[in-house]
């Protein structure tokens, strides 16, 4: 297989199938010091990422803490201002739009937050929480809005009479359903779901995952599903992108990524997830990485994973690897893979000795 089917930049051209297109997106948070608030450094939370999300699909975005996945989600919705780069939504460039210009677009892009305890106003009834976006966007008011709220509550598996209750009267799973209803109120095309089930108990997680999948089918939604749980991401996503310290290291169709991970970090991440089956666990060999996740303030030079990578060589320390396409739609940023014609290193049985 030849490296880079998509030209030297490794970035394929966008098509009209793509609802969201992200190009070289960066978000730096400045660190200041002293009374003059001198700019001393940056937290490079997102440091040049490229991907696209197709209409009607779920793109899973996975990574560990500090990988920048949550920041990426917020910047794409312009809930945080990008430092540079481009975001196109349904053919329109979002960067550079004023708040007023952005407002009508907000109807089409919504977010579901991780913490169902902190993301609902405790002083508002569930009905008024769901109703608020309807009024802000002038979609419905009065009786019509009441009707819409009841319809939304039913849609997410709650009772219409729940509209009069306060968030504290609900369990975590039910609150997350309220969060989903609020996001759906304005009839969006695109939803960023930021760790929507991480705070929930296992038996409740499945309820919310099924709900999100049913709604996607019914309403033709497009999801960016951000999570650290790779089992959940495999279940819900069509394609998956893996982030490590501000960069996407690999992106592919779900099964391709899980069955044939190219990047050593993706391999290690997948092998670190325990599988709830003692028989499988006994047969599995695990890749244990040494060291911690580096800080995004001073990310390692070259490939950011070289400090923990079992197959790193000299080139990895100095040169940032290109994000090449090795199979259709399967891109990875790794010098080892590039120099071995798109082959993934075998980290379980060698060639490298693991520390």
């Amino acid at each position: 297989m030849t490296a880079s089917l998509a030209g030297p930049s490794g970035v394929p051209t966008a098509s009209s199938d793509d609802l969201v297109v992200v190009r070289d997106l960066r978000k730096y948070f400045p660190i200041t010091a002293g009374i003059l608030q001198r700019h001393v450094a940056d937290v490079k939370a997102v440091d040049g990422i490229d991907f696209e999300i197709r209409r009607g699909e779920t793109l899973g975005l996975v990574g560990e803490s500090g990988s920048g996945k949550t920041t990426a989600g917020r910047v794409i919705l312009r809930l945080a201002e990008p430092t540079s780069g481009s975001i196109t939504f349904d053919g329109r460039e979002l960067t550079g739009l004023s708040r007023g210009e952005l407002r009508p677009l907000r109807k089409e892009m919504q977010i579901i937050f991780q913490d169902p305890y902190a993301s609902l106003n405790p002083r508002m009834t569930v009905g008024s929480i769901i109703r608020e976006p309807l009024e802000i966007h002038g979609i419905a008011k009065g009786k019509e809005a009441d009707h819409r709220v009841q319809e939304l509550l039913r849609l997410v598996g709650l009772q219409p009479q729940h509209a009069n209750r306060y968030p504290h009267e609900f369990s975590g799973g039910q609150r997350q359903r309220v969060g989903v209803a609020r996001a759906l109120a304005v009839d969006p095309k695109f939803i960023v779901a930021d760790e929507p089930v991480s705070a929930l108990d296992v038996s409740i997680q499945a309820q919310v995952i099924n709900l999100l999948q049913d709604l996607q089918q019914q309403l033709g939604l497009t999801y960016l599903f951000i999570a650290h749980d790779l089992s959940v991401v495999r279940h819900i996503s069509n394609r998956v992108a893996v982030m490590y310290v501000g960069k996407i290291v690999e992106i592919a169709d779900r099964d391709r990524l899980y069955d044939n991970p190219l990047h050593p970090y993706t391999q290690a991440l997948l092998s670190a997830i325990p599988i709830p089956d003692p028989d499988v666990e006994r047969r599995r060999k695990r890749i244990i990485l040494s060291g911690d996740i580096p800080s995004p303030v001073n990310p390692p030079s070259g490939c950011r994973f070289h400090t923990r990578c079992p197959v790193a060589f000299d080139r990895c320390k100095v040169e940032v690897p290109a994000f090449n396409e090795y199979e259709p739609g399967h891109r990875a940023a790794c010098h080892w893979v590039e120099e071995h014609g798109g082959r993934a290193p075998d980290l379980v049985n060698g060639p490298a000795v693991l520390s």
């Binding site: 039910q174 296992v202 038996s203 499945a206 899980y258 997830i273 709830p276 089956d277 003692p278």
Partner: protein, 349 residues
């Protein structure tokens, strides 16, 4: 004889809304050198169980009855001074959150040395030397230098290593780990689990691992205890629990999990919500959410024995339930005589 034996433990808490029984009649035993996983969701009573064993229940909590036998002696009869000698020396604990369970104003070295000075009577110099050994054991690089660092200078995974070093510094016979990897990233979790397994092989401690993560249990535990609504609903070897679960709650948990090695098919959630401890359902606590629910489930459920130590608290296996089943039960033998059901005391051998 079991190393640690819990018999008919009941722990209650006074709350503004009334008294709740967080743990209600729990019995189990742990053998030396083995790992027991306690699995359950929030509110199932798994953490209160570990705190009851350590006698570290909050002010508004009471251990109503039961026995906690460590090497045959009842910890519930010990004075606070005696408990202090046991905690950290014979039974040590690793808490979930490595960010808040270390003292921020003491160096790591001082904190690890404190345990060995108190329990083993080491001099300050020897205790610090021992602390360096322990830090090396848990693979903290430049151990001598890091000894003088404060907790905030360590990452989450490193802090959890420090917690493990501290817990193991007196060679405890029992190590209770309450969600030791929940706050950590997966690649760091894999490091910590491997470390705990190595430590166990080296020191031969018994481990009680409390977790909600069935994957971690499958990876590390020989035996599994499933808790629901304050009591054990199933107990058995990990293979038995994962391959032939008997209690519908255990089955539901396994079905509702997306698995990394399997894609696609729709998840089967457990409907409804975990029980409110203030208003526990009558009979089986899982009844209101159970797809097999029968009229008999309103009665108190005994434990049924499936051989080789596998027990489950469910009427599906009682002859009295014949004719009450509305949907076919999973293919498991119906126990002909309900007299085989054991009381919790018998169970704890």
């Amino acid at each position: 004889m079991a190393l640690l034996e819990v018999k008919d433990l009941k722990t209650t808490f006074r709350t503004e809304d009334g008294v709740v029984a967080a743990v209600n009649g729990l019995s189990f035993a742990v053998d030396p050198g083995s790992t027991l996983g306690i699995v359950g969701e929030s509110g199932s009573g798994k953490s209160v169980t570990s705190l009851s064993i350590m006698r570290l229940i909050a002010q508004n909590g009471t251990i109503e009855h039961g026995q906690i036998l460590f090497k045959g002696e009842d910890l519930l009869k010990k004075s606070e001074a005696e408990m202090r000698k046991i905690r950290g020396r014979d039974i040590a604990m690793i808490f979930q959150d490595p960010m808040t369970s270390l003292n921020p104003v003491l160096t790591i070295g001082e904190q690890i040395a404190e345990a060995t000075r108190l329990h083993l009577g080491l001099s300050k110099k020897d205790a610090l030397a021992k602390a360096v050994d322990m830090l090396r054991l848990v693979k903290i690089p430049a151990a001598e230098k890091r000894l003088r660092d404060y907790p905030h200078q360590f990452s989450g995974g490193m802090r959890q290593r420090v917690m493990i070093a501290m817990a193991l510094s007196c060679d405890p016979a029992v190590l209770i780990a309450d969600e030791p990897t929940t706050a950590l990233d997966v690649t760091i979790q894999a490091q910590i689990i491997e470390l705990m397994n190595e430590m166990q092989q080296r020191l031969g401690s018994a481990i009680v691992l409390i977790t909600h993560d069935l994957g971690v249990v499958a990876e590390t535990c020989e035996n599994v205890l499933v808790m629901y609504g304050g009591n054990m609903v199933e107990y058995g070897t990990a293979t038995e629990i994962f391959e032939s679960p008997k209690m519908p709650y255990t089955m539901g948990l396994l079905e509702s999990l997306p698995r990394l090695d399997q894609a696609g098919s729709r998840l089967v959630p457990i409907e409804g919500q975990p029980p409110n401890l203030l208003h526990m359902p009558q009979g089986c606590a899982f009844g209101p959410r159970c797809r097999y629910k029968m009229p008999i489930c309103m009665e108190p459920v005994p434990l049924y024995d499936f051989g080789d130590g596998h027990v489950a608290r469910c009427f599906l296996y009682d002859e009295r339930a014949e004719g009450q089943k509305t949907i076919p039960a999973p293919s498991v033998p119906v126990i002909a005589n309900s007299a085989v059901a054991k009381t919790p005391q018998e169970l704890a051998k």
